[in-house]
Subunit: 197 residues, 2 copies
């Protein structure tokens, strides 16, 4: 059974997968998470609902994977510039202000949907937050290995909190999406000094 | 006209005002912002809708002022312990974990409602965020005057971002409301080092 599932799974090409994720994100922007149906995804992508369920299990998983796939600039772990500041700045520069604004609107909508949908929260943790934290840990470990950050610096556990604060508060206090200039300044003023860099 | 309004306004005693705000928060917890009506507030508090509108202008203003009034421990500016760490810790200790959990749930609901209600965002900025930022500026100014924080430290502009990050990300990543222990540790690991303390 598992072999059959794997065989079926492998029939979807990476191009087709990317096309599907893009369609899911378009629909999300148009109608929001709660109104998004697997029927609409099937119709928009000309696939069968059976295929969607077989491949992704359900709406929450499909949405979380689409968001993950859409993350610009690939994974943070792939930036290895030789310094923590360089890595964090490279990550920031990987998406331009227009992409950041689009993502910010999308994430705000999903953050709201999460509270009414425990399965979406679960999928988000599994496919987005945890992989993201693993990437941050990798980047921080390299900084520790280089002697930039002390291994016992307590701020290491709060890097995601600091970053999320930058994004969320920017939207709330400044009423505008985070820009590259804002994030670079926030990283230099808050994240690096807290880490002792 | 203004004098009449002021005269009318002064007829509500502080006790009655506190009672009214408490009723508004109870209703908010029960039904959420969108379903909250001035009719329900009037019925619950045995006041006339005309009085509510005359006194508060509208639902958004009433809710923002009720939340502000409910903020535990009074204003941050009133803590003057002689050190920045002392002030921030005193602020944290002013609400116990149970109060913090209740407030966290309430604020999460309101943060969601804000996106669909521009008038709520406006009232929130005016009656909650701006006074809060003014308090933080006062506390930080004292720290600058004592020589604890350099006047040109760029993290001064991001104190609210850091604090909001602690609250919001704690809920999202750790899936639990912020506790005193968490916030004290976050202040020591992130906020104070970023400020160079």
């Amino acid at each position: 059974m598992t072999e059959v599932a794997t065989a079926r799974r492998s029939r979807i090409t990476p191009e087709r997968e990317a096309e599907l994720y893009a369609a899911v994100l378009d629909l999300l922007r148009e109608v929001g998470y709660d109104a998004l149906t697997m029927d609409a995804v099937a119709a928009r992508t000309k696939s069968s609902k059976a295929t969607l369920y077989r491949q992704w299990g359900g709406k929450a998983e499909l949405v979380a994977k689409a968001v993950r796939h859409n993350k610009p600039g690939g994974s943070l772990g792939s930036f290895d510039t030789g310094s923590l500041r360089g890595d964090l700045h490279a990550l920031t520069m990987a998406s331009d202000d227009c992409e950041m604004e689009q993502n910010s609107a999308l994430m705000r909508g999903l953050a709201m949907a999460i509270h009414g949908n425990p399965d979406l929260l679960k999928a988000f943790k599994e496919y987005l937050i945890e992989p993201e934290m693993a990437e941050f840990r990798k980047v921080l470990q390299r900084a520790v290995d280089r002697g930039e950050v002390r291994a016992d610096n307590p701020a290491i556990d709060y890097v995601m909190h600091m970053m999320i604060g930058g994004f969320a508060a920017r939207t709330m206090i400044d009423e505008q999406p985070p820009t590259q200039a804002f994030l670079l300044s926030y990283i230099d003023a808050v994240v690096l000094p807290a880490l002792g860099v």
